[in-house]
Symmetry: C2
Subunit: 418 residues, 2 copies
């Protein structure tokens, strides 16, 4: 029976997710650890996209990265260079990586190294830059680049050294605690950021020589409630990659957006992206901004929803429902309940206190999405549509159903259904 075969494959998928043991292992310059990240290569969020089709913040971030890497002397030259075909653009996902919002990853940027110790695979992501005008939201001026240079010269090496001295930091227990502390690990990471500071601050103190540098690093990390977001994303990527390529499996292995297209990958169909135009987030805007300023949905951060966090775990985080304009505690619970309809299992290690410690909805089944018409709920930041501005709000967005319809058609062909 085809249905039995798919059920078995999907069970295998969720068992791999539940068996995963993701550990934050190190922080290293991207070029040292990401195979194939050559000079003049830019990794970006979402499925593949050409320069001409890119949105404002993505182009802006690329221009900033080109100046940062010394490929161009200023932003104008960087834009010309990027448009000339002299730079190569590839999705992070094609290099075992993910990145928030624009998701730019280039050679000199430090990346956190994650290992899923149950399967041996690794994943990579840059260190969170903070809030506001930052490269992931399209920021690219000297203030943005100076911060990235400091991350490369000071924060990254110190973090790497501290984390190595600890032998790595297991992440599933931190996320389990965070869910009991109001985080959903997409738009709210205040608890997990605190738990991370508690884990690494003593090691930073032990391994760093200069107290002044240490204080600056602790201030930077402690001052950014979203610091853990990138850790959650790298962890989710490390957890989901072993699910790729299971024959007959209809579970989503990645959801991602480049600001123009939303892309979905499914286990049985391997590396193929099923895309549709991204939607506009519905949310709340920072003072001075509104819908007309907003860029459409962007970023690899939907990897956290893919593993059952973010919008899927909204019941853990009633405070985030308010932040993204989605109501209160009752609405937060309703979002999570809806995600049970489109997922294969409940995660026994990650539980939701408000639902009497029910497990997070895990393993998006494209058949259930298409059958029910319930699109995955995603909590997201909102970038300004123009390069150079930064974050303007936060909201909720739905994954476009068309991606799942396309994926299901291809899946059906793959498994020999009619």
């Amino acid at each position: 029976m085809l249905a039995d075969r798919i059920e078995k494959a999907n069970r295998e998928a969720v068992e791999r997710i539940f068996a995963g043991d993701p550990v934050l292992l190190d922080v290293r310059p991207a070029a040292d650890v990401i195979a194939g990240l050559e000079d003049r290569v830019v990794l970006h969020a979402g499925p593949p996209i050409a320069w001409e089709a890119m949105c404002g913040p993505l182009r802006g971030a690329i221009a900033g990265a080109a100046v940062l890497e010394g490929w161009a002397k200023d932003l104008a030259e960087a834009e010309r260079l990027a448009g000339s075909g002299a730079l190569a653009f590839h999705p992070n996902h094609h290099f075992d990586a993910v990145g928030p919002m624009t998701g730019i990853t280039t050679r000199t940027m430090p990346v956190m190294v994650f290992e899923n110790r149950a399967f041996g695979n690794r994943a990579y992501i840059t260190v969170n830059e903070g809030l506001g005008k930052v490269m992931r939201f399209g920021g690219n001026d000297e203030e943005v680049l100076a911060r990235l240079r400091w991350i490369a010269s000071d924060l990254g090496p110190a973090m790497g050294q501290a984390i190595r001295s600890l032998g790595g930091i297991p992440l599933k227990p931190i996320v389990a605690k965070g869910l009991a502390m109001g985080d959903e690990m997409h738009q709210r990471n205040v608890a997990c950021t605190g738990l991370t500071v508690r884990a690494i601050a003593p090691a930073l103190a032990r391994t760093m020589g200069e107290a002044g540098k240490l204080a600056t690093i602790l201030e930077f990390v402690s001052g950014n409630d979203q610091f853990f977001l990138n850790i959650a994303m790298g962890m989710a990527k490390a957890l989901m990659d072993p699910v790729r390529g299971i024959e007959g499996c209809s579970i989503v292995t990645a959801m991602s957006r480049n600001g123009t297209d939303f892309g979905v990958r499914v286990s049985a169909t391997g590396d193929e992206w099923f895309t549709a135009p991204v939607e506009m987030p519905q949310g709340l805007y920072f003072p001075g901004f509104d819908e007309v300023d907003a860029n459409p949905d962007i970023g690899d951060s939907t990897i956290v929803e893919t593993v059952g966090l973010g919008g899927f775990a909204m019941a853990a985080a009633p405070a985030v429902a308010g932040f993204v304009g989605a109501g209160g505690a009752a609405e937060a619970i309703a979002h999570t309940r809806a995600m049970y309809e489109i997922t294969a299992a409940r995660n026994p290690a990650w539980t939701l206190p408000a639902l009497e410690f029910a497990g997070t909805p895990t393993g998006i089944d494209i058949r259930k999405v298409v059958e029910t018409g319930v699109a995955p709920t995603i909590n997201t930041g909102i970038a300004h549509r123009e390069a150079g501005v930064g974050q303007v709000g936060a909201g909720i967005v739905r994954a476009p159903l068309a991606c799942f319809v396309g994926a299901l058609e291809s899946f059906a062909a793959t498994v020999g259904a009619t």
Copy 2:
């Protein structure tokens, strides 16, 4: 009308609580800041009590403190000294102080200094020693005393210096965040401890010379999920003291236990304690221990319930309901709902996400307690009944109704009711 007069007085009381602005200001040796804390004076939790009537852990902690202070060369000599009348015992509450469990405060112990900036009053409490075999649970051996000496020589001075460099740490915002992160600030302080580490770690790094000492301090604080408990207690004491002595006010200003008696103070009746025998907590025990090992209820920590946290804010902390053996999320919400029946107001600054951000139940009205028969719910640690052992579990306990009946009789006489 008497009822109107009481209502007006009670409104004044809750307005004072809501107007309070408690700040953690400093850490200093107790003798330097607590007026009247002379040599051979021991401050303890709860209402006044004589040596002969004290329970095992309280006697044990006093013996340990006598050795720590150099009043006795060993525990046996210390017990004899304590029983001989050579030491003076007073409640912390009589010295603007509070203390968890046995609550011992003596001259050389560093205390955190709190100022309620809206009213100018100060409050004091020792630094949390960690979990297990510690003096607050009756521990008194060399391991316990060595830790206290390190707190006096290293942790206290470093914390004081860091906090002074920050100009103090306002506490209401930390508690507000903690309530959205699953803490109720009595048996669960994991979020607020993290927020505190984030606040002071950079300042510790800036103000401390020795990286090795800094690492040890960060490990100690980061390794203790209950580190914030003492901060919450000092804050609550600083918030409640301005409510004392309001004519016609039937709001409780302190609840406290010495392991033998439970004591209640009420605004209109000033410094009088209304006591009744303490009850046994109902809870869960650590492996190897059960009810027969448990000491009756003890500690000044019920000051957090007095200000609307702890058992009153259980809806914020479904995970603590499980820890203290009180069920799950639904039971946690039910506990908070019951406390609305006996309180005067809802705190607009401290809200409960699971109750759609309703304010915490604030201002225990002794009239309502006696009328409804609903006794205040208290989340508590459980000490071993013998000296020297330490914590054996955690649970829930009810304030004895008899205290409130006695208080109401005295209150009625004070306000001229029949």
